[in-house]
């Protein structure tokens, strides 16, 4: 790549791709120039990742051609793409925790002498790269000692190590806190200013509007919009993604919880040193209770303690007027369920089928009393009807491995898994993370229906709009304590956020209590 003509960047013409003769990408044209950031939006399954994988060399297109700086670009592997200056940061972290930062950065081409790695030189070069992404760390640090945010920055540094001119970012900010995201976006902006071309996949529409120069929208494998950011609104983008005007993302919620409704979950003075302190709450039948807080407020840890996955030293949990204790299995038998925060890590069995995943918790209900033999017919019928009630996409087969499903369908399968067990209280930790707009709406509806049947839902989320949209009542956690309580009628963004920072600001608890 000697004669690099500026202002051309990466050009895609009539590129398409099909898997098993099912078209995933229809022939599309796209162009990205150096110095620009292109936001790529679309629902899950719209073909964004396929397009990125084609650009990054992991997949080869069926038709069409790509040109990089005017020359034909036909990478056969990610290795070749990287050599040609196309770098990719994947959604999931792809670093090696057993190696150091500098080893990760120079994994493919470490500086060597007689075959031996020149560590000093490598660490010096790594230090420069780390400085570029704003990390003040020793390059000889093991990656296992870094936070998720730091690891994401190291991934970005790895792209810089290859001197990539085209940078592909596949939802790199999902695992980052708000502060880290802001820093990350600042960096991306600077990389663009250094005349790199950047394509950024995201679900965060506001971020895209704030940071990108252009926005492209994919729907069902076709490009339905490719416009400068200033020419389009958030509302318009969502419409393009869904293909029809959105009436409302959040289903209507009339707060119907009666004050005299039975308390089905009660938590008294729950504490665990360094994790949570003095948590008290009551959840009534029919109620959707939200828990808001900043990253690291202890919400997920609280959920894990409720479910019995982690220990607590003091306090009592009551479910249906009975003390809840013992293993997660016993708690689920007593009527508690937990939809975990990280679907891919501890929410699904990725290699197992829809049927196996859905029947995982409630399998006891479908087996003989002696010997535990499964009643296949009974199970099949139950799965069929549950599929319908969670609105799982109808063309999916029951025997399909869960990892092949989109995020939304995976999440619906998880909900079905718990609903089959007929719980009284379901804890949902970030129930709509990484799923598309249409699926979000359906998940909200499922949560409401669940509560309306006389059950209680405890929804944990970092998305305040989501909680304001679907909850009857909201608790705010800050550094392991509950620092605020708001009824639907008194929802107030500013006061909720103040409560979320309460422990950080060392404000007195009393002043924040409603």
């Amino acid at each position: 790549m000697t004669a690099r003509t500026p202002k051309t960047g990466l050009e895609i013409r009539k590129v398409s791709k099909a898997f098993n003769r099912v078209p995933v990408l229809h022939p599309l044209d796209l162009c990205i120039e150096p110095g620009r950031i292109l936001g790529l939006l679309g629902q899950n399954g719209a073909g964004k990742s396929t397009l990125m994988n084609i650009l990054g060399g992991n997949l080869q297109p069926d038709t069409g051609e790509m040109r990089l700086h005017g020359a034909p670009y036909t990478p056969q592997s990610s290795r070749e793409a990287r050599r040609l200056g196309v770098g990719m940061v994947h959604q999931e972290l792809n670093l090696f925790s057993n190696l150091t930062i500098s080893e990760n950065l120079f994994l493919i081409n470490p500086p060597t002498k007689l075959g031996l790695i020149r560590r000093k030189q490598m660490n010096r070069a790594a230090e420069l790269l780390l400085k570029q992404v704003g990390l003040a760390l020793d390059p000889a640090t093991l990656v296992s000692q870094l936070s998720a945010g730091q690891q994401q920055l190291v991934e970005l540094a790895r792209v810089l190590a290859d001197d990539a001119q085209i940078v592909l970012l596949d939802e790199p900010t999902t695992s980052l806190s708000d502060g880290e995201t802001a820093h990350f976006m600042q960096l991306i902006r600077r990389l663009a200013q250094e005349s790199r071309a950047i394509i950024w996949i995201s679900h965060a529409i506001d971020d895209v509007l704030n940071h990108c120069d252009r926005v492209a929208v994919l729907r069902d494998g076709a490009l339905v919009a490719d416009e400068p950011t200033r020419a389009i609104t958030a509302q318009g983008l969502v419409q393009k993604m869904i293909g029809r005007p959105v009436t409302q993302l959040y289903p209507a919620r009339n707060s119907t919880v009666k004050a005299q409704a039975k308390v089905i979950l009660r938590v008294d003075n729950l504490s665990q040193p360094q994790i949570i302190a003095d948590i008290n709450l009551e959840l009534r039948a029919g109620e959707v209770l939200g828990i808001f807080g900043l990253m690291g407020a202890g919400r997920s840890e609280f959920a894990r303690i409720l479910m019995g996955l982690d220990r607590h030293v003091s306090g009592t949990i009551w479910l249906n007027q009975r003390i809840l204790r013992g293993s997660p299995r016993r708690r689920s038998q007593q009527g508690l369920g937990l939809v975990t925060e990280n679907r891919r890590i501890d929410g699904i069995l990725p290699e197992s089928s829809v049927t196996e995943n859905m029947s995982l918790v409630a399998i006891d209900r479908f087996v003989t009393a002696i010997g535990g033999w499964i009643y296949p017919q009974r199970l099949r019928l139950a799965i069929e009807s549950m599929r319908e009630s969670v609105q799982l996409q109808s063309r999916l087969s029951n025997s399909q491995a869960l990892k092949t499903l989109s995020g939304g369908n995976q999440q619906k399968t998880i909900l079905g898994k718990w609903f089959l067990n007929d719980p009284r209280v379901l804890i949902l930790d970030e129930p709509t993370r990484g799923i598309d707009v249409a699926a979000k709406h359906e998940v909200y509806q499922l949560i409401h229906h669940f509560a309306d049947r006389g059950n209680g839902a405890l929804v944990i989320s970092s998305d305040l709009d989501e909680l304001l949209g679907i909850c009857d009542r909201l608790l705010v956690m800050s550094l392991g304590r509950i620092t605020g309580e708001f009824l639907r009628s008194t929802f107030d963004r500013e006061r909720i956020l103040t409560a979320a920072f309460a422990q950080h600001l060392r404000l007195s608890r009393g002043a924040q209590k409603q």
Partner: protein, 325 residues
């Protein structure tokens, strides 16, 4: 990570050293012949063959694979050498033939695993049986007595160091250098940590995986050479269960069976010395030979237990506190 935890971690990281030290102290107290230069030399000589095989095994284990065929490879290499030696072939030819058999076995495993995608356990289990069968057919299930040149190898010295020890040390050093100081070594560790991520990072995973099985095959044949120099005969049971000895030694040395963590030094080398010291100590104490496997097995358990402590400590340390009261 506070200082106490870091210290505990460092101790657990080096637990194989600690175990070796404890075993040596105990045996020295129990038997006054144990801690002598002659005996320690003997231990090293006897541990050399296993160590060399275990170095190759360590590479394989680090990629989260396993090679069950190294014992059979040793047998085939020895059988071919025996046949040639009996037919009056010069020693150099026998040596080259042995290494060639190791290379061939490694290439076959590499092909099955990295090109055909057969999982290592099954692929190498298959080559174990094929290798054993082939060796038995070659030797017609009879023991072959080797000429004096092979036994002479065992007593040969290089700068005053017995050849087996010199070979064991140099292979360990080179192995450790390759593992920690070359690109290939870093790729091996990366693949063991996360194969899919390694693929995406542009590491030629198939070639690296092929490489570790070739290394394991060649080192198995070298291990066979050292064994022959000590035994002098190729019996039909030659090399039997050596794959388990090699795996055990690597695991005692701190190499994880799930890949990505471990090494040769302290790893396999210390592990082999540990096992050999225990066996030699038991001989001196006139222990019932039937007890050997029981005691060796308990050491493996202790090593794995310590590794478990280490993992749970890592997990605990990685959990972030929400607040400090």
């Amino acid at each position: 990570m506070n200082r106490f935890n870091r210290t505990v971690m460092r101790i657990l990281d080096q637990s194989s050293w600690g175990l070796l030290l404890i075993v040596w102290i105990c045996l020295s107290l129990l038997s006054n012949q144990f801690f002598s230069l002659t005996n320690l030399m003997n231990i090293c000589v006897q541990a050399s063959s296993t160590t060399i095989v275990a170095v190759g095994m360590t590479f394989v284990l680090l990629t989260a694979g396993v090679d069950l065929s190294v014992g059979a490879t040793m047998f085939v290499a020895a059988a071919v050498a025996g046949k040639l030696a009996v037919a009056n072939a010069p020693f150099e030819v026998c040596l080259l033939a042995m290494l060639g058999m190791g290379l061939a076995a490694g290439l076959i495993n590499a092909f099955l695993i990295s090109r055909l995608g057969i999982i290592p356990f099954v692929a190498t289990l298959g080559s174990l049986y094929i290798g054993r069968g082939f060796g038995l057919w070659l030797t017609e299930t009879r023991a072959i007595a080797l000429p004096q040149t092979f036994l002479a190898l065992g007593t040969k010295q290089i700068w005053g160091i017995p050849l087996p020890i010199a070979l064991m040390l140099s292979i360990s050093v080179v192995g450790q250098l390759i593992l920690t100081q070359t690109r290939f070594g870093r790729h091996v560790l990366a693949i063991g940590c996360d194969r899919a991520a390694a693929e995406k990072a542009g590491i030629p995973t198939r070639n690296v995986i092929a490489g570790v099985y070739v290394i394991a095959g060649i080192l198995a044949s070298l291990g066979a050479l050292i064994s022959l120099s000590q035994l002098g005969t190729v019996s039909p049971t030659f090399g039997e269960q050596r794959e388990f000895a090699a795996i055990a030694v690597a695991v005692i040395g701190g190499t994880s069976l799930f890949g990505g963590r471990g090494g040769i030094f302290p790893g396999a080398l210390i592990g082999a010395l540990l096992i050999q010291s225990v066996e030699s100590g038991l001989v001196m104490l006139n222990a019932d030979p039937y007890l050997y496997p029981v005691i060796v097995a308990s050491i493996i358990f202790v090593a794995v237990l310590l590794d478990g402590f280490r993992s749970s400590l890592v997990r605990r340390l990685q959990r972030r506190p929400i607040f400090i009261p």
